[in-house]
């Protein structure tokens, strides 16, 4: 390699290295150092694992995390179940302008901010909201119904927020599936179900895996939707981290929770890949 190409390689790589180093690695090191500080008095600290131990000894924190993780997994499954037919229709059934229009319609809600989207759902679901009024007008219910402030509302919000991130990778992988393969499947005596199971899903697997990882991580790290739509029983782990940092002034605990979230969510993704027999390399490749 000549000196010139070396230099251009370094220059090309520099913005990425800077971004990674300055914005990701250095803050994480600092955060880790904060997380292993134990407060013993006003302005006095010592190094120890107490903040991490608190997560395992206080059932509240542990339960909050489990709840967050399980609901995020459920949201991922739901998003997949709703997103797959949509993606299949866009990639395989729709043609020409209809295809572009449908794809655009999936994108459209993401042109407004997440906060606005969440408020939109709140207007629909609240007791004096659109759905409640419509149901009363139709005579299906005789008094206002409250659809907001429960886990169902959180789920609706999460699925809606992450739909795009499931549909796009699915459309891309399904697009590359040759229609003739599906026809061949039918010619060889397959029915709709076996073609789906033997041909479509195996081909779409990289899209399914990458979509699921993104949706799971987005749900787990979501803050606005659970807090605004969950009401009095919304326990979400990111909310706990916010509380520790901002409301309780307990940066040490908040930093420890941040690392636990990073570690545990990576663990869940790894487990998910193991169970379904996938590897990250296949997905990315």
């Amino acid at each position: 390699m000549s000196a010139r190409t070396k230099l251009s390689l370094i220059l090309l790589f520099a913005p990425f290295a800077l971004w990674l180093g300055v914005l990701i690695i250095i803050p994480h090191i600092d955060m880790f150092l904060v997380s292993i500080r134990e407060k013993i008095g006003i302005g006095q600290y010592r190094i120890g694992p107490a903040n991490y131990m608190a997560f395992f000894t206080e059932p509240l924190y542990w339960n909050t995390f489990m709840r967050t993780a399980l609901m995020s997994i459920a949201a991922t499954l739901l998003t997949f179940l709703i997103g797959f037919p949509v993606a299949f229709y866009i990639a395989k059934v729709a043609r020409g302008r209809l295809k572009t229009t449908l794809f655009l319609m999936v994108l459209l809600p993401f042109w407004v901010s997440e906060l606005v989207r969440t408020f939109g759902w709140m207007i629909l679901l609240r007791e004096t909201g659109v759905i409640s009024h419509t149901l009363q007008w139709l005579g299906l219910v005789h008094r206002p119904v409250e659809l907001l402030y429960n886990d169902g509302a959180i789920m609706v919000g999460l699925v809606y927020t992450s739909m795009l991130f499931m549909v796009v990778p699915l459309v891309t992988t399904l697009d590359s599936l040759d229609d003739e393969l599906i026809e061949a499947g039918y010619d060889l005596g397959g029915n709709g179900w076996s073609v789906l199971r033997e041909i479509v899903i195996p081909h779409a697997m990289p899209g399914i895996v990458s979509g699921s990882i993104v949706v799971f991580m987005l749900s787990l790290g979501n803050y606005l939707t659970p807090v605004l739509m969950g009401g009095k029983n919304s326990l979400w782990f990111t909310e706990q981290i916010y509380q520790q940092f901002i409301v309780r002034f307990n940066w040490e605990q908040g930093a420890a929770f941040g690392f636990l979230l990073l570690f545990l969510s990576s663990l869940i993704v790894w487990l998910g890949l193991k169970i379904t027999g996938q590897t990250l390399r296949e997905t990315m490749g």
């Binding site: 220059l11 006003i42 509240l60 609240r126 009401g231 009095k232 409301v247 309780r248």
Partner: protein, 355 residues
């Protein structure tokens, strides 16, 4: 070579940026919504030539922001008087106020003295009063006529029709309403823990009554306005604002006492525009300007003689909510000693997690 040149260009650009911003004097104000209305800011800019950059926040975020920078990034902050000494002792984020540069004659003397006392740490004063108000009950009198005290929010009649915040004022309010005195127990952690335990049990018992724990003032006003919530613990100004639209809703000073707060002016330790900060304080404390802030924020100020310029409607609503004995019964927050907020945090977490 190229790298160095690039670096140089970058630094030059950065320097140019700071030089540009330093040209016009700027006051970076960390405050609450309504405390620096556009009209007042424009008048100040016209009179002094100093630009004002307003950041709206709340007590916890103010401390968190200043802590993150060691007291930098802002030139003047407006924390509540009870949250200054604790934060100062722990994080050293404020600078003492030079009382000689404050026009004392603009302040209501009793309020200035009380704030000075409560914000003194190691013989130095860290705050002067600006806006004061209370939290108590905002009640829809058509639907919940017998809500007179915080504990009435737990009346089974109002199941699902009540809202309050999961924050420290709620703990304090319920303690008072249950006949205890949490302020007297501030200095005794064991005793304060006992009080918190009883309040925790009560709040968990009361949970079925709660529609949602409110977090933002506007969201709460919407809940009350739409009739989804009939009674809430909230700030007085919220109640008066709704009273203008719907006479049935108003602020009620609870039997066990409204909780009184005073928001102050405090100097962040690394303030870069101290002169401008003092100028701002002396500017907004003038009676006519203070009345404009009262009109925007809905709360009264510590400015002497400003009452004369305040709109009649607000005065009337204040008098309706606060007969003389209710004023005498206001419980003013004493300074919070470090450590209490941690205990309170755990209680609030458990209340939220309870089924």
């Amino acid at each position: 070579m190229i790298k160095k040149a690039l670096l140089g260009a970058g630094i030059a650009a950065l320097l140019a940026g700071t030089a540009l911003s330093a040209q016009a004097e700027t006051l970076r104000l960390l405050t609450w919504g309504g405390y620096a209305p556009d009209k007042v800011v424009k008048m100040f800019e016209k009179e002094t030539g100093i630009k004002v950059k307003v950041t709206k926040s709340n007590n916890e975020e103010m401390i968190a922001k200043l802590r993150a920078t060691g007291g930098g990034g802002f030139d003047l902050a407006q924390p509540s008087q009870d949250r200054i000494t604790g934060a100062q002792a722990e994080y050293n984020i404020y600078k003492p106020i030079d009382l000689g540069r404050i026009k004392k004659e603009l302040f209501i003397p009793s309020m200035l003295e009380a704030t000075k006392k409560n914000t003194t740490l190691n013989g130095k004063v860290y705050g002067v009063p600006h806006v004061w108000g209370t939290s108590g009950l905002v009640v829809n009198r058509d639907k919940a006529p017998d809500v007179k005290d915080y504990l009435d929010l737990c009346n089974p009649k109002y199941k699902g029709r009540v809202s309050y915040r999961l924050k420290r004022p709620t703990l304090i309010a319920f303690a008072f309403s249950m006949g205890m005195d949490p302020f007297a127990a501030y200095s005794d952690k064991a005793k304060y823990g006992e009080i918190l335990k009883k309040v925790e049990a009560k709040l968990i018992e009361c949970k079925p009554n709660v529609k949602a724990y409110w977090t933002g003032g506007d969201a709460l006003l919407n809940l009350l306005r739409s009739g989804e919530v009939w009674a809430a613990m909230a700030w007085d100004t919220g109640g008066w604002k709704l009273n203008k639209e719907n006479p049935a809703i108003t602020f009620v000073a609870p039997k066990s006492g409204a909780l009184g707060w005073i928001d102050t002016f405090a100097l962040p330790r690394k303030t870069k525009a101290e002169d401008a900060a003092y100028k701002w304080i002396n500017f907004v404390m003038q009676p006519k300007i203070a009345a404009m802030i009262t009109a925007a924020a809905g709360n009264f100020t510590a400015s002497k003689g400003a009452d004369a310029y305040v709109e009649e409607g607000l005065k009337k609503r204040f008098q309706e909510s606060f007969p003389q004995e209710a004023i005498d019964n206001i419980k003013w927050y004493p300074p919070v000693p470090p450590g209490l907020e941690e205990m309170e945090g755990k209680v609030l977490d458990r209340v939220k997690a309870a089924k």
